[in-house]
Symmetry: C2
Subunit: 205 residues, 2 copies
Amino acid sequence: MKLHTSRGAVSPARVQFFLAEKGIEIECAQVNLMKGEHKTPEYRAISPNGRSPALQLDDGRVICETSAICRYIEALQPEPPLCGTTPVERAHIEMCDRMMEFELMMPMAMTFRHTFPAMKALEDQVPEFGEKQRGVARKRAVRLDKQLVTQDYIAGSEFSIADITAWCSFRFFRVAGFEITDETPHLKAWFARIKARPAAAVAFS
Amino acid sequence: MKLHTSRGAVSPARVQFFLAEKGIEIECAQVNLMKGEHKTPEYRAISPNGRSPALQLDDGRVICETSAICRYIEALQPEPPLCGTTPVERAHIEMCDRMMEFELMMPMAMTFRHTFPAMKALEDQVPEFGEKQRGVARKRAVRLDKQLVTQDYIAGSEFSIADITAWCSFRFFRVAGFEITDETPHLKAWFARIKARPAAAVAFS
């Protein structure tokens, strides 16, 4: 297996974090997004939609999409479980992970893409939309802070893939103004708790 | 189990289609989105983020998020498989399904929410963004047409959850101008092929 990944970007970091939690080391090829390497014919021959990360299997098949890659890794190596073990646990964690993707990471990404000056070259920006999405993401962060009053992790009492998705989002999108402040103390404590995991240090390295 | 669903909306239709393919009948409660019933305190007590559909389990736990609901149903009743059976098949189908969600359904939904007059009451519209997303969705539909030259279904030779996601998107978002034309004949043939399945008739009924 070979992982086509991009050092420092949010979704590649989610996969790196996941792999590190599993204790798996894997051959990696770097795809430089700012240089547009994901749009070259060579890379599109591997990943037709030109996205990073992409997991290339030994038979040449390619799995794109962060959560499909992570769930595949979980199937190959179930321990430690990061996506739940029973059907209802799996469903609950998938729900939490998707909420972090759709309600938190996505509006943060939209803010970043549509308002961040360096993204102008890659994105057909609509700053008005980006600013509205900033409000959506901030509102969701406040809701998350309230959830974290009574639970240590996003999906409940156990660390899971949903923490990885949310943590990598906060870590990466602070460049777009999503720094966690003292106004959300439970979120701040959770961020520090996740940051203390050895695998978190691997995510963006 | 009880499904909180909204007749005629795109994600509830995906779950209805999935259940009908499995031959499962389930108790349903209707949540009227245009009347804002998903934002009431009563409904938020069931589904905290105020989204439909939501699957309420017999112990009171609730699973939100369409694909988490569908994968849970697949775990309870594996036949016929709609999400793959081996780890690599599951990963491939999850990838295809997510591509349909992120690259097709999402830009169609953004177009609908940000440009459709009736959505003004529910959405803080940015029409410029909506129109740009129209282009993104149309480009993806053309790419899908090319894929369907050599394969009958979105994930390859077998019908899967990815067809359900894409079909419900085309079916619903034609209200926002995404009617399939003769310019994409393979997509048109695929749409008719999916429409011919008895379960498709159940999706929006």
